[in-house]
Each structure stands twice: as structure tokens, then as C-alpha cells.
Symmetry: C2
Subunit: 326 residues, 2 copies
């Protein structure tokens, strides 16, 4: 199997590649595990840190059809399309969001269609597919009502994934990912960036701003759970997905205040006091438009997983830090 990962230099892309290398197989269309012969990591910057001969690193723009023509061939049986302009940036730069989140997604689907080999495509959608007046728990049947350009572009991507799958051009699956936390490294332009920052920075002795109120609910998954669910989402039988290829993934519902308490339990009061609570109306508006809790009946039945607790997520990040991996 030859696999393409867009956003391959990012946190999820590079960890997904590492997990796939270790696993060595993914399921084919019949559900039979097939050996992975090649993983192409495509991103605007070259992915680093891989020394496996199966890894092929490409720095390129996914909105450039020539790049896609070179990297998506009839031998590309699986695509994990993770690359995106994140929520805060897509809101601030509407045109860039449309070009990457919508146009490039379509170019990838068109390339796959052109090749005629019906590749399996895993598209990462988001809780930002929902918004506005929502039930306490978002259900599998809750209508998508995005309240941000990012969410709008993601839902449009989901619709394309479903229609291209229905037409037999691809075998797609659009996974609505929880906010991934704790992300290592630097903050990004996602409106949800603080969710990692308020744990990561205090653990490193640095102050972090929490731009939303303590009662703000979030739907979270650790990087490890997110990766496991991406691979499971690739392997799951398309018959289980049905006509709408979009799926709400399991997560953990918690609040910013509860996250601070978990940090305090794990690392002490001094760490928790490094969180400065200072509301940013632009970020709060976007984050408050997202659901903070789901009932993911369909995904649970398909075997997708969630983290045990937010304490476990924090401990997992601390363990990574100690191991030098974060």
C-alpha cells in the first residue's frame, strides 16, 4: 500500500506516519491488512525526523495541481488529508481558508477520481461543523450548522467526500475530530490553540492565557487517541458508514476550569496559577459556537475510542515530556 498524508509535517501527520510505520499494515477495500510500502508526507514544509526508507518527504503546496499530480498516482491507495488552514486563521484570512480547506480538498478528490483506482480517503473534519443553538449533547443526527468559515469549509469538504464516495470516485470517510490536546510545541492559529497552551506552557514554567471563561466546555482527544481513531477510520468497512461519510468521533467533554484543576492535580498549584484568565472575544465567539459534548453512538459502535479522563491526557503529555518526545 502506498499512502499519502497531507499535513505530513504537522503534529498529527508525523505521528500518524510513525504509527503507520510501526503498525506496518492498513486494511484494503476488502478489509484485508496489506503491507505499507511507502508513505508520502506532503506539507508546505519538509517533514523531519524520519529515517525509514518507506518515508518519502515532499515540500509542496496542496493547492498546486502539479504537486498533486506528482504525489497522487494510481498507486496511491490511501490518502489521509489532514492539511488545513486552522479555525482562527481561516476566519481572519477568508481567501486562504477557501483555497486550502475547500479548493485543495477538491483538487485532491479530483486527482483521485482521475486516477480511477477509488482510493480510500480519510478527511479530517471538526467539531466546528456544528454551531449556534445546540442541544446539550450533539447527536449523530444533529444538523451541521457551522458558525465559522473554517467550519463551513469543513462541512463542504464532508459533502464532497460523501458525494465522491456515492459516485464511486473514492472511498471516503470524513471524521469530525475533537480538539486535539495536549499538542506539543508552539501555539498555532487555531481558536482552540489555548486548550493545549494552558497545560503545555505552565508545565514548562511559562504563563499561558486562557481566552475563554472557565465554564467553557470543550470536546477533546489526546494526540494518541486522535491517531488511533484516524487509522481506525481508514480501516473501518465503508458499509458501516452508509451514505453520509461524515462521522462524529468520540471525545472527552471537559471545561477550561476542569482542565486547570487537572493541571493542578498533576503539577501543583504553582503550575495552575500560571494560567491567566483573560477573555479574547474573537476566540471566545468561535469556541463558544462549538459543541462541548457529544453522544457518539455510531462511532462508538464502530469501535472508535476515547481517552479515559483529562487527568490521563495530562499524565500522557507529562510522560511524553519526560521521555523527550514532546
Amino acid at each position: 500500500m502506498q499512502i499519502l498524508i497531507t499535513g505530513g509535517a504537522g503534529l498529527l501527520g508525523s505521528r500518524l506516519a510513525a504509527a503507520l510505520l510501526q503498525r506496518n499494515t492498513v486494511a484494503d477495500a476488502r478489509g484485508i491488512p496489506q503491507r505499507i510500502s511507502r508513505i508520502t508526507l506532503l506539507d508546505v514544509i519538509a517533514a523531519k525526523g524520519f529515517h525509514d526508507p518507506r518515508i518519502h518527504v515532499v515540500a509542496g503546496d496542496i493547492s498546486n495541481p502539479d504537486v498533486l499530480r506528482a504525489e497522487i498516482t494510481p498507486d496511491t491507495q490511501s490518502i489521509f488529508h489532514l492539511a488545513a488552514i486552522v479555525s482562527g486563521e481561516a476566519e481572519a484570512n477568508f481567501d486562504l481558508g477557501m483555497r486550502i480547506n475547500l479548493d485543495a480538498t477538491r483538487l485532491i478528490l479530483e486527482r483521485a477520481r482521475h486516477n480511477g483506482n477509488c482510493p480510500r480517503i480519510v478527511f479530517t473534519s471538526s467539531v466546528a461543523a456544528f454551531g449556534g443553538a445546540l442541544p446539550t449533547q450533539v447527536l449523530d443526527t444533529t444538523p451541521t450548522t457551522p458558525q465559522s468559515s473554517y467550519g463551513t469549509q469543513k462541512v463542504m469538504g464532508e459533502l464532497l467526500i460523501s458525494d465522491y464516495s456515492r459516485k464511486g470516485f473514492i472511498d471516503g470517510r470524513a471524521l469530525r475530530m475533537p480538539t486535539v490536546c495536549v499538542r506539543p510545541g508552539a501555539p498555532n492559529k487555531a481558536a482552540s490553540s489555548f486548550a493545549s497552551g494552558i497545560i503545555r506552557e505552565p508545565l514548562n514554567g511559562i504563563e499561558a492565557v486562557c481566552p475563554v471563561a472557565p465554564g467553557t466546555a470543550l470536546w477533546l482527544a489526546s494526540p494518541a487517541t486522535a491517531i488511533a481513531n484516524l487509522i481506525h477510520g481508514h480501516d473501518v468497512d465503508s458499509q458501516l458508514l452508509g451514505a453520509s461519510r461524515a462521522l462524529n468521533l468520540p471525545g472527552l467533554s471537559t471545561t477550561a476550569g476542569e482542565m486547570a484543576q487537572a493541571l493542578e492535580r498533576a503539577a501543583g498549584t504553582a503550575a495552575a496559577q500560571r494560567i491567566r484568565w483573560q477573555i479574547d472575544p474573537a476566540i471566545e465567539r468561535i469556541v463558544n459556537s462549538w459543541p462541548g459534548d457529544f453522544l457518539t453512538t455510531r462511532a462508538n459502535a464502530m469501535g472508535f475510542t476515547r481517552d479515559a479522563s483529562f487527568d490521563a491526557i495530562v499524565q500522557g503529555y507529562i510522560d511524553e515530556l519526560k521521555a523527550g518526545g514532546a
Copy 2:
């Protein structure tokens, strides 16, 4: 007010223009009636039959940015975007559907955004926004689950309308129209074309094929009701629409068999016997994926209207025929 109607040579476009000319005003952003100074009818073919100096006929391709640049100016305060590749054709010619139903819609929105005058844009969506396993009555809260490329493209258009409106680029409203029946003239490539054909052709002494089973439910509106609701949809206060600018319009729920009975009541047994019941699986698949009944609570409260009965719709068409207008 200067108004652009795309699809201006079609049934709805030309009747809408006639209705607007007669009405002489549309509401501006403050809800105040403003005199209509110009109506541009843009379509791939030149609209015919207008002799009013306010009418400006343009033959052009809405997927051509140059055409849009010429016809959508900062003086264009209102756009009725009716042009589309219909359901059957969009399913048969995927690329054409994407180009007109999605790309051209986006070009129109971009042109309007570029002009910076926040025009009011009425976009015609469709019952094809829904599909698959549906409740007996589709509610305002029922999720969109298109099962055709046409429906997919329409829902993507709705999402763009809502996001462009939220950003303040336009003041959009996406009206999910019932199947319009009875359409005069020749059959078209809509999967729903038969709904008009099985009334129109027998009244003209011609046999018509009904490609769906008699029990197939349809959600219908007469041309006159469709036009009234398009204008009402333009004039309605955006505050009533909220964040999601898509709205299910009222209609009449009936079945193909009941339509034949109404024809028989209006024109006798001989007319009804000119309907040949012969299922076309491709058409039946698309039509059966659409809902046949809605509870349009929101639109009712906003003052949108429906036809009194299917008998009234048939009689309206017969009256038009007699008056030489159909």
C-alpha cells in the same frame, strides 16, 4: 433598485421578472420598498418577450467571471440566483453540475463581495438537500443529507450563502424550493420533470410517462406560489433568518397517483389514461431520495405561502392554457 436574475430566460426567471415589473418595488435592507429601476435577465440564451425599458437582457455564461464582472456592479442591490444545472443532468454530467451549481455560485458571491455593497442574494436551493432515511415529515431541524450531486451542490451553495452573510459580504437567503409544477413547455433534465409532464402532456392530448410508482410522494408548489415566495424571500427581514440562511419553503404534499386523480377530476378519464406508468430506476432513485412532506414551521411564521390543493394547481395551469400564457 437594480436587480439581476440568473436563469432569467427560464420559467421562474422570466415570471419573476414579470412579477417584479408589475410590483414595481422590492424591500431594501431597512425593509423600505424601493422602486425597481432595472432588471437584468442573465441566462445562456437571451430571455424573450419583454418590452419594458427596465429589462436588460444578457446572454452569457454565469461561470465566466467576465460576464459576472459586467453584470454584477456596485449598483446591483439584489440578485436572484436561479440558474442551475438540474438534478438529472447534474447527476449525469458531474463536472458541468460542479461548474455551474457550485463554481458559478461562488463566482457570483465573490463578485458581490468584491463590490462591497452587501447585496441581497436569493439563492434557490431544493428539497434535494435532503435524502436517505428521512422522517415522515422533514422538519426545520432535519439535517441535510443530499443523495445526489445536485443536492450536494445546492447544500454547498447554502453553506456559502450563510457564511458570506455571516461575514457581512452579502445579505443572503437560500430557499429550499418545492418541485415546481405545472411547468409549461418542454420537459427538462430534472429528475422531477415528469411531475409537470404527467399533467401538461395529457392536457395537450399527448401521452406522458410517469417514471415513479403512484405512491411516490412529492413536495410541490405552483409557479405562481414559487414566484410569490421568491419575492417574499427577498423582502423578508434578515433578522428573522438567523445564522443559517437556508429555509425550507412551504409546499403541498401529494403523490403521483393523487396527481393523476386530480387530472382526471379536472380533465376526465381519457386525459388521466394518457399517463403511462413505467418506472425508470435512475429517476426513481433520485426522486425517492427526496422528502415528500415537510413541516415548514419557520417559513410559515415568516409569511411564506403554499397552494390550496393540487386540484387548484391543475386548475391554475388550465386557466393559463386558456389565457394563452402557458
